[in-house]
């Protein structure tokens, strides 16, 4: 069977998107491969399809539980039953069960922290691994915007399980990050497939507003006039919620908020309503969008400043997957850079907290070898948030295992946190500069990735001149369902087979 025939029969797509075929062929030829494909161009197909052509298991390392869950579900929706997402969502007995039966699965998603367990590793060694996939591979690099210390171990893991053919996938990687990926995984000799981060069908604009109030007014105006569907990103749950309420008050019926604080059923429903066209607009935090397959999103607005260019590209990349003209709008008001700085700093434990923990450990030496058991106590007294605790705990556990004393660890942790914050501040600075630069926005972004702008982009950016009319809704859409709701009809529709 040709690759194209398999693509059609297994996935129902008539043709590959740019890059997919080359990457798949490289993997099938047994070459280690680093692939950089822009968001929204079908990265997961690059390991899904080879999975059906080679014997043995496909192991996929994925950093985010929600993303992993989405990807596993997509595969299952496609009729693949031999999928498992091996992560902390599983209960202990489910984990045990899954471990015993690991060889019965084809696609095994694993979160990196699971690889710390010897029992997991030894089961992996018994498998015949056809492909080792590192998703979101930029997480390996200290230079990356989303560095995950757990990812540092992957090179060692790869070696322990017999150096299987490896595919490292990412959407955005600068030169340094790319070098780190190869070195860390031990695949210096790999094939590289780098595709431009540019999405020419997404126009880029930044709008300067005088203050928060004006910015909010402009947001309402945009939501009322732009051709949807659309997503508006916020940095806070509360703002996402309030803005959705505001827009509904202003008469936009089909708007909902989406954030991690909602219960799971509501999150699933809102996401599905959006995909099925029952909603036109989502006011979301960054929790929304990962793994969502909706190809006709026409605009993405950022109400708050993103923390780095990379995540900005990821988020706007959800627009225009169908290739049609779309637009990304960032709204800026003076002082907006304060919020991302605050968010970045709050992610890490600060010096006074770490000092406090150091004193506390001196009084409670029993805790040192088992900090996990003291989570509540430490969190409560030192005021660490969940995220801060995770960073603290990860770092501490990693170092204590290497035999380092706690005082030294905490000292190093101070330095580590300072470095990370500095790096994050630099990223924010980069976004800030990008907002204020006077020349082409696309050119500017591309230069961050050592790329040059493709000569002609029809609707490029506000700096190059942009006609807003092209993105305005031409019909005053009247999509309110006025038919009276009849519960019996609804039940009948759901349960009684039609002809």
């Amino acid at each position: 069977m040709t690759l194209e025939a398999l693509l059609q029969s297994k996935f129902g797509y008539p043709a590959f998107r740019p890059g997919q075929k080359e990457i798949i062929e490289s993997v099938l030829a047994g070459r280690n491969t680093v692939a950089m494909l822009p968001t929204g161009t079908g990265k997961s197909l690059c390991y899904q399809l080879p999975g059906y052509m080679i014997e043995g298991q496909v192991i996929i390392i994925s950093p985010l539980l929600s993303l992993m869950q989405d990807q596993a579900e997509q595969l299952m929706m496609n009729g693949e039953k031999k999928v498992i997402a091996f992560n902390s969502f599983l209960t202990r007995s489910e984990k045990r069960q899954a471990l015993i039966n690991l060889n019965q699965y084809k696609f095994i998603f694993i979160s990196p922290e699971m690889l710390y367990y010897e029992s997991v590793l030894s089961q992996l060694k018994k498998l015949r691994i056809a492909l080792f996939v590192v998703d979101e591979a930029h997480c390996i690099s200290q230079w990356g915007y989303d560095f995950r210390p757990d990812y540092l171990k992957l090179g060692e893991v790869r070696q322990k399980i017999g150096n299987p053919v490896t595919l490292a996938l990412t959407a955005t990687a600068t030169r340094e990050v790319k070098a780190d990926i190869k070195k860390s995984l031990g695949i210096l000799d790999c094939s590289e497939f780098i595709y431009s981060v540019d999405r020419p069908n997404i126009a880029l604009t930044v709008e300067m507003t005088d203050n928060f109030r004006v910015k909010t007014e402009r947001l309402v105006e945009l939501a009322e006039s732009l051709e949807g569907p659309g997503i508006i990103y916020f940095s806070s749950k509360k703002m996402a919620e309030q803005s959705a309420d505001l827009l509904r008050e202003k008469g936009a019926k089909r708007v909902m908020a989406y954030h991690g604080g909602m219960d799971q059923e509501s999150r699933i429903l809102v996401q599905q309503q959006f995909i099925h066209g029952q909603l036109d607009l989502i006011c979301a935090t960054s929790a929304f969008g990962m793994g969502i397959n909706k190809d006709n999103i026409r605009y993405v607005i950022h109400f708050h400043m993103p923390l780095q260019i990379e995540s900005y590209l990821q988020e706007i990349g959800r627009a225009g997957r169908d290739g049609k003209q779309s637009i990304a709008i960032m709204l800026y008001a003076p002082g907006d850079e304060q919020l991302p700085i605050q968010i970045a700093e709050n992610e890490f434990p600060d010096k006074s907290q770490i000092d406090w923990i150091s004193d506390w450990m001196e009084e409670n030496p029993n805790s040192i070898l088992n900090v996990g058991a003291y989570e509540e106590q430490i969190k409560q007294r030192s005021g660490l948030t969940d995220i801060q605790w995770r960073i603290f705990n990860d770092f501490f556990e990693r170092k204590i295992k290497s035999g380092m004393g706690y005082k030294r660890i905490l000292q190093e942790m101070n330095g580590y946190c300072e470095d990370r914050i500095k790096l994050k501040r630099n990223s924010i600075e980069e976004v800030y500069k990008w907002i204020h630069k006077k020349n082409c926005r696309r050119e500017n972004i591309l230069s961050c990735f050592d790329e040059e702008k493709n000569s002609s982009v029809q609707f490029c950016c506000d700096r190059c001149g942009l006609q807003f009319e092209n993105f305005i809704r031409n019909t005053k859409s009247d999509n309110q369902d006025r038919t009276l709701y009849d519960w019996r009809n609804h039940l009948e529709y759901l349960l009684i087979p039609g002809e």
Partner: protein, 352 residues
């Protein structure tokens, strides 16, 4: 804060508690805290229907609402954190309950856990049937819990109903059951259902569409589910399919873990002192457990601990005392101890 229905519910509780418990006992009740104290109070003051009917209510919100109620002069303190309704408050409560009655089918104590499971199962089942009807296999399940998926697979395989009949049967059973709802619009439930090409609404969306507050919607939603569960319990022959869906879903007896251990020892015939020794707990704690068992298990016989004669005396005292405070009852029947009174009251609460 504008949560008038929730305020009504709080005032209702205050009224029933008659100043004999703190405001926080209401929080524990609505949260569904599984402590002996909360469980006993729920029975003693006939508040079992409200058990765990606002599982997410926080201490802060409760305190805030209580303050608002006080500021409206509907409630007044008689002791530290103990409140009663004022005359005006009682009139207000009556008026609000007339406008937004607490659903009579609500039965949190009996159905809170079965209800959650029932909802997870039936929403997934309906989604699956709907897609089967349209021969569509590509969709994302709206329930993610693995055990619900396992249940569904098992159900379709072993229920004994033909696949193409399940939808028709469920339509008939649900329709028949829901149309008997008198004070709740069945739409509170059906609007939330998902199927082929039609994704259900979230609770917030459904309440907006029906034009009722989120809190009131929440109680009506629970009321509708509890109505279904009660109908099936009373007449399982009428609803064979739904009966199958809830079978094996949580038993009626829900004890705290510690009480369960005590119960196991009780069943082996050990007496309270022995159990206290074995479990290294105070005897009073073991007594708490026995009361909890009495509250939970209708078949539990208390004559082993209180003679029938004493039971009669206590019951008589309870009906003549002007409050259900144990102290007052004890004054009338001084020969009984608190443990005996609580046991009898547990049985009394159940009968009501």
């Amino acid at each position: 804060m504008h949560r008038s229905y929730l305020k009504t519910v709080i005032m209702y509780c205050v009224n029933e508690l008659q100043g004999q418990r703190t405001i926080y006992s209401i929080l524990h009740l609505l949260n569904g805290k599984k402590s002996s104290q909360t469980i006993q109070d729920a029975h003693l003051f006939q508040l079992t229907p409200l058990f765990r009917s606002f599982g997410n209510l926080s201490r802060g919100v409760l305190e805030h609402l209580a303050e608002e109620i006080i500021n409206s002069s509907w409630m007044t303190a008689i002791d530290e954190k103990h409140y009663i309704l004022t005359a005006e408050g009682k009139r207000e409560l009556e008026r609000s309950l007339l406008e937004c009655p607490i659903p009579s089918s609500l039965n949190g104590w009996l159905y809170h856990s079965t209800g959650e499971l029932f909802w997870e199962r039936i929403t997934l089942l309906i989604q699956v049937i709907s897609h089967l009807n349209y021969n569509n296999v590509k969709y994302l399940p709206i329930q993610r819990k693995r055990d619900v998926h396992e249940w569904l697979k098992d159900f379709l395989r072993t229920s004994g109903f033909a696949r193409n009949e399940v939808g028709v049967m469920l339509y008939r059973e649900l329709g028949q059951c829901l149309e008997k709802l008198s004070e709740i619009n069945p739409a509170v439930l059906t609007l939330r259902l998902t199927g082929y090409n039609r994704i259900g609404l979230t609770a917030v969306q459904a309440s907006e569409q029906l034009g009722i507050s989120q809190d009131y919607y929440h109680h009506q939603f629970l009321g509708a589910i509890h109505h279904i569960l009660a109908s099936v319990r009373e007449n399982s022959a009428e609803y064979p399919l739904i009966n199958k869906i809830v079978s094996g879903a949580g038993n009626a007896v829900q004890l705290t873990l510690s009480a369960q251990k005590t119960y196991t020892l009780l069943k082996q015939g050990l007496d309270l002192d022995d159990i206290a020794k074995i479990r290294r707990l105070k005897k009073s704690t073991i007594e708490d457990h026995v009361v909890e068992v009495a509250l939970n298990d209708g078949g539990f016989n208390i004559t082993r601990y209180v003679s029938e004669e004493k039971q009669k005396l206590i019951l008589h005292a309870a009906s003549s005392a002007d409050s259900l405070q144990l102290k007052q009852i004890r004054q009338i029947v001084p020969e009984s101890d608190y443990f005996e009174i609580r046991l009898v009251m547990a049985k009394l609460g159940e009968r009501q």
